[in-house]
């Protein structure tokens, strides 16, 4: 090593380094022992350099199984000039990690990436300046590779670890450091292997469901099988704790209508939850899944105009070609493969809750209010569960564990059973969509109108509601604004001079508890919208791909449309194939869509069995433009998953309920796509190195839904108005044709 010995450097470093040691001690105490969020305006909040020349990056986003934890480290490593093997992260924890907002709306890379990139750039700049002083060489004469700063000729060198190892930067994060240009990236935009997978294949990865703490009881919730109308909730008429007498050690704990059982042994808790004699007040407040669309469509709503330009009504009245398309889309469940689980240790003046939330800080806020503790006295730690795809029961189970721990006076682990998760989910809401679209004789779109009926999300978790909290709508937070008609998926990709998008908002209290489900409502929107566009193409005798090309001006939309068509080797098919009388008819369709950002295009090849009504996707092609893609391999994997999940949602998934409550409570009554029906999938990443990073975890599903719907028409010559496209529905549509 060259330059000043460390002791001398510390003396020479002046204000920047004085107090390192004291501050170090204080910071080490602070990280973990004091309530966060840590100060986002400090570099030390974002990263730490260790003596062994490695770095810890403090990431505020949850790994939801989509690979973003690897991609965010790629960004940090690249900007710091460290190798991937030199960077790591820590568990998401309200006492440790910064508050970057929740992990929703595909925000990890889009919103979190720039923050981490800028913080890393600023740390690198500071390290360069330290190295310059240490080596007595101007920064312009220094270069860095894998955390080793050296003179250009290599004669003098010092590592990051030697410069600040195990100490803090003690520097404000100003966001002013220049970041690298895409041409300088070494790790970003490369297919680095996911960091979390080795532990996941060998069984050492700790999922939330694995967490056990000393002195813990096992808990289960006791509720009616299947939630009732949100506004009605569930009320206990009678409960008999004596019914648990045959299970030694099992106890009933109660907070209003919130019932739970705890026991030392897990199997005893499971048995106790089944065995508890409890009667619930009867209710018949729901329309039932068969009649829900009627109720939604007939509801008196006030029209809320989302977007308007030109005069859609006038243009529709006078256009050469006008089409209309209806969509009825069911409630769908997140149905994480492993039901949610949480462990809580609630004491008189503090609480520690471990759960699989998308937002540790939001969960902390709610738990603190429910437990009547100051927010800073509650600590929430994130443990990955199985894929959640949005607001599954992770908050509900965390609240259940907290209530039971508070009542029991010791730590409690609550594992939701399959029927709890399936029955008490915040479902993706049902939707009725009506679209009218018009084109002139030359094949140019002239008008587009979308009316959407759906209710908002619920704001109170079942545990809280049963314990006495009011059923309220979900109003606040960063996910607001995606509870209604989406201006991007509903015609937003096309050049239409006259356009009107209208929301008909329904009161969630009259329906089922709801929340954001991966690409919220977009599958439903695209199912209606992209079929209408397709209808116009067929009416005009123009190939549906060509028709879309003619009506799109935006390069990004054209890019994904072309990429999907090219991958599928699309050839013009101007007239929909008519049913040929054969048993199996094949069809191909194309579609576009997205969520709040990015661009998605898809082509679907499907087969319809005209005798049984069974529809199977044979091959799905999905293209995404998410700007600069940090890890193309991970995004390809995301596209594949989105295509398969879309097929599952279009062909199988529907929450069923009667007038009392939800009746789809397991994988038999709520089937999902299986291996034998799984299509081939072809993912296409449209890489845009010079564009801003955007989300890629949900933005191709709408396009795929549109493509599948259009492929059905191509195969059969008839349009589906309702999904899932179950054999029964398909046969009834074919019979009517």
């Amino acid at each position: 090593m060259t330059g000043l010995p460390r002791r001398e450097f510390l003396k020479a470093g002046g204000a920047l380094v004085i107090g390192f040691n004291l501050r170090d001690v204080l910071l080490a105490q602070a990280r973990g022992s004091a309530a966060g969020p840590p100060d986002a305006r400090q570099i030390d909040t974002w990263l730490a350099i260790h003596a062994d020349n490695t770095a810890t990056v403090y990431v505020g986003f949850a790994e939801l199984g989509q690979g973003t934890s690897t991609a965010l480290l790629q960004i940090a490593a690249d900007e710091l000039d460290l190798g991937m093997e030199q960077v790591g992260s820590v568990r998401l924890d309200t006492n440790v990690t910064p508050n970057q907002g929740g992990t929703y709306s595909s925000a990890s890379i889009a919103r979190g990436g720039p923050q981490i990139r800028t913080a890393a750039a600023e740390a690198r700049l500071a390290l360069f300046e330290m190295a310059s002083k240490r080596l007595n060489i101007p920064t312009s004469g220094l270069t860095v590779s894998k955390g080793v700063v050296s003179t250009v000729d290599g004669s003098k060198r010092v590592t990051y670890g030697e410069l600040v190892g195990n100490r803090t930067f003690n520097l404000p994060f100003t966001g002013s450091a220049p970041v690298k240009k895409p041409a300088e990236y070494k790790i970003v935009a490369t297919p680095v292997a996911r960091r979390d997978l080795p532990d996941k294949v060998n069984g050492t990865h700790v999922y939330m469901q694995h967490v056990r703490v000393p002195g813990m009881l096992h808990g289960r919730v006791v509720r009616p099988r299947g939630q009732r109308a949100y506004g009605v909730g569930a009320h206990v008429t009678s409960v008999d704790e004596a019914s648990l007498r045959s299970i030694p050690g099992a106890r009933l704990l109660r907070k209003g209508d919130f019932l739970g059982v705890v026991a030392e042994h897990e199997w005893d808790a499971v048995r106790a939850a089944r065995q508890l004699a409890v009667k619930w007040e009867p209710t018949a407040a729901l329309p039932g899944s068969e009649k829900v669309y009627e109720k939604m469509r007939a509801a008196k709503t006030s029209e809320e105009v989302v977007l308007q330009r030109g005069d859609a009504a006038a243009a529709l009245a006078s256009a050469a070609h006008v089409v209309s398309q209806t969509a009825r889309a069911p409630y769908q469940a997140h149905a994480p493969f492993g039901p949610n689980c949480a462990v809580a240790d609630v004491k008189a003046d503090s609480a520690l809750v471990m759960c699989s939330t998308q937002d540790v800080y939001a969960t902390r806020r709610t738990l603190a209010a429910l437990l009547k503790l100051p927010e800073k006295s509650v600590r929430v730690q994130y443990y990955e569960g199985s894929g959640t795809y949005g607001h599954s029961c992770y908050d509900d189970v965390a609240q259940a564990a907290a209530f039971l721990s508070q009542e029991a006076g010791q730590p409690v682990r609550v594992q939701f059973m399959r029927a709890d998760e399936h029955g008490w989910d915040n479902f993706g809401p049902a939707h009725v969509g009506e679209v009218r679209a018009a084109a002139d004789a030359g094949g140019k779109l002239v008008a587009y109108e979308y009316h959407g009926w759906q209710h908002s999300w619920s704001g109170t978790e079942a545990s809280a509601q049963l314990a006495g909290e009011a059923a309220v709508e979900f109003l606040a937070g960063p996910v607001q604004g995606v509870q209604g008609v989406n201006r991007l998926t509903c015609g937003g990709m096309y050049q239409v001079p006259n356009l009107r998008l209208v929301n008909h908002k329904l009161p969630v209290v009259e329906y089922l508890k709801a929340g954001w489900l991966r690409s919220p409502l977009d599958l439903s929107f695209a199912f209606a919208s992209e079929q209408a566009i397709d209808q116009l193409a067929h009416l005009l005798g123009i190939d549906p791909y060509e028709f879309r090309r003619r009506n799109i001006a935006d390069d990004r939309w054209l890019g994904v449309l072309d990429a999907a068509a090219k991958a599928a080797n699309w050839t013009p098919r101007p007239v929909a194939a008519k049913r040929n009388g054969g048993k199996i008819v094949a069809g191909r369709g194309i579609g576009l869509g997205t969520h709040l950002q990015s661009w998605g295009g898809a082509v679907a090849d499907i087969e319809v069995n005209a005798e049984t009504g069974k529809v199977v996707a044979k091959h799905l092609y999905g293209a995404i433009d998410a700007g600069l893609v940090v890890n193309p391999a991970i995004v390809e994997s995301q596209i594949c998953g989105q295509l398969v999940q879309t097929a599952s949602r279009l062909f199988h998934e529907e929450v069923t309920f009667d007038t009392t409550g939800v009746t789809s409570l397991d994988w038999s009554s709520y089937p999902v796509l299986r291996f034998e029906e799984c299509p081939e999938v072809t993912p296409v990443v449209v890489q845009r190195l010079n564009e801003r990073c955007l989300g890629a975890g949900e933005e191709v599903m709408a396009a795929a839904a549109g493509a599948i719907a259009n492929a059905f028409f191509d195969a059969t010559g008839v349009r589906m108005e309702t999904f899932p496209m179950t054999p029964k529905r398909v046969l009834s549509v074919l019979k009517r044709a």
Partner: protein, 168 residues
């Protein structure tokens, strides 16, 4: 009672009707088998019982008395024993192939996927895609990673055939 898990005899305290899953998770702290449905519908809790895939969530611990249980953690050793390898590999070829294909997303279902695929390849070393899908059809993946699992099982079959060829 005493149960034999991953080549070791372990004394467990659970009542005989306790599902094996809870015993493996809570008494033996194994993380491979995990709760998914408790109804034998999803495959999350799969283990091998005498080399045959079983759903531990509905198998009473008393039913495995005298039998040999292999969990995800024990698959490399089970592979070494059944293939008479000189040493235990770090991973079963199916585990390695899942990594090579970067097949996983959340990975929660992969306990069952890996256990089931290992069982399949122990019986049928050269399954075609249709056979793989048929064998795996009782295992659900909510992330939609089926296509990569099929590729990984194919890849694992190749790896195992090559290893056998070398051994001969």
């Amino acid at each position: 009672m005493t149960i034999n898990v991953n080549g070791k005899a372990s004394t467990v305290a659970a009542a005989p009707d306790t599902p094996l899953l809870y015993v493996l998770s809570n008494e033996l702290q194994l993380q491979g088998p995990r709760f998914g449905c408790g109804l034998a519908q999803c495959g999350s809790c799969s283990v091998l019982v005498d080399g045959v895939e079983k759903r531990s969530c509905v198998t009473p611990v008393s039913a495995v008395d005298g039998k040999s249980i292999t969990t995800l953690e024990g698959l490399p050793m089970w592979y070494a024993v059944t293939k008479r390898l000189a040493r235990v590999p770090e991973l079963h070829p199916v585990q390695q192939a899942m990594l090579d294909e970067q097949a996983l997303q959340c990975g929660y279902c992969y306990n069952g996927m890996i256990v089931k695929a290992a069982e399949l390849l122990s019986k049928n070393p050269r399954p075609d895609d249709a056979q793989i899908k048929r064998a795996m059809n009782g295992h659900l993946c909510r992330c939609g990673t089926y296509p990569r699992i099929v590729s990984a099982v194919r890849r694992a079959a190749d790896m195992m055939l090559k290893a056998s060829a070398v051994a001969r």
